[in-house]
Subunit: 193 residues, 2 copies
């Protein structure tokens, strides 16, 4: 990534935060990995703060009450802000069900904050049931499961919506790449030699 021609340091990226929000199984992790692949091709950095990784490294011991969820999301916002204000692009890929806390994150990061609604119905997510969690949630084995026994507040004015029941993950990722290109937050696609 370091270009020695630039002297001390190197070219770096523009900081932004793609703040994914959506139900478990809606496609957050899948789409974030496709964007990572594309940005790697363009030699642009990206850090993904995935829900599970953050629960392990920043929020172990927290549960799924509203209070604990809010604390978890505030920590993600704190770290996403630290990175993005230093020019590091970030995707946060946690459910982040509550509008109020997402709006706090928006206030913290200002124009660097890009809300992305990864939209799919509970029925569609339950049918996919990648982690087998919906089955357990419907059987009452998991309490406080977003969309089943816990609320999900959809965003009102997200910058981008990915309808993952109608788009493939590749199409959703492409839509986000085009959004970032339009805002000149990432370099253009490399031209084939």
């Amino acid at each position: 990534m370091t270009d020695p021609n630039l002297g001390f340091g190197a070219a770096h990226d523009k900081g932004f935060c793609l703040w994914f929000t959506g139900l478990s199984g809606a496609g957050k992790t899948t789409i974030s990995k496709l964007i990572e692949e594309e940005l790697t091709k363009r030699r642009n950095r990206l850090e993904i703060l995935d829900g599970d990784v953050v629960r392990e490294n920043l929020s172990k011991g927290l549960g799924f009450s509203k209070e604990d969820r809010d604390t978890n999301i505030r920590r993600i916002a704190f770290v996403a802000d630290l990175l993005s204000r230093n020019g590091v692009p970030v995707i946060t890929a946690a459910i982040s069900p509550y509008r109020e806390i997402r709006d706090e994150a928006r206030e913290l990061m200002g124009p660097r904050f890009i809300e992305v609604y990864i939209e799919a119905s509970v029925e569609a997510c339950a049918e996919r049931d990648v982690k087998g969690l919906y089955k357990k949630a419907f059987a009452g084995e998991i309490k406080e499961f977003t969309g089943v026994s816990d609320p999900y507040e959809a965003p009102e004015n997200p910058e981008v919506v990915c309808h993952t029941e109608e788009e493939t993950p590749e199409e959703s990722a492409q839509k986000l790449i085009e959004y970032l290109e339009q805002r000149e937050l990432i370099p253009p696609e490399p031209v084939a030699a």
Copy 2:
């Protein structure tokens, strides 16, 4: 900070982590602020992860048992690694009393990790008692206070030692700036016009 001549993005800094360790009142925060001033003059970035800021934003609810201290320090290391591996210089300024967890942070960050022992005796720190905490600790009003009623394990092979009973904060900061210059982790002092 953005130099438009460099095209997309801008010059950035080299990532490292000055991992301060030392008793409460040894001088960690004071020295970190002096380094921040100097790096700002050189137009180099720096994030300071101060003990108090981290307790508020990442570790609210954690106490001062060995287990909770370890969790707190691991979170600091997680964030310092995220930043420094993306070219963002960091100072962590928490007591971080346990050698084992500091060594974990060293392993995580490899050559980016620079251990700095901010050294002062308990007696000297208690005499300064900037926050009035030692008085309370000696009176038994604060339990688990590092250096009084809780262990502090000094580093065995720190990259730099600042003896804050014999050096002024300015001298300690200067020593660290010179260390960073020698390793070419920061740009040289700007030449007066």
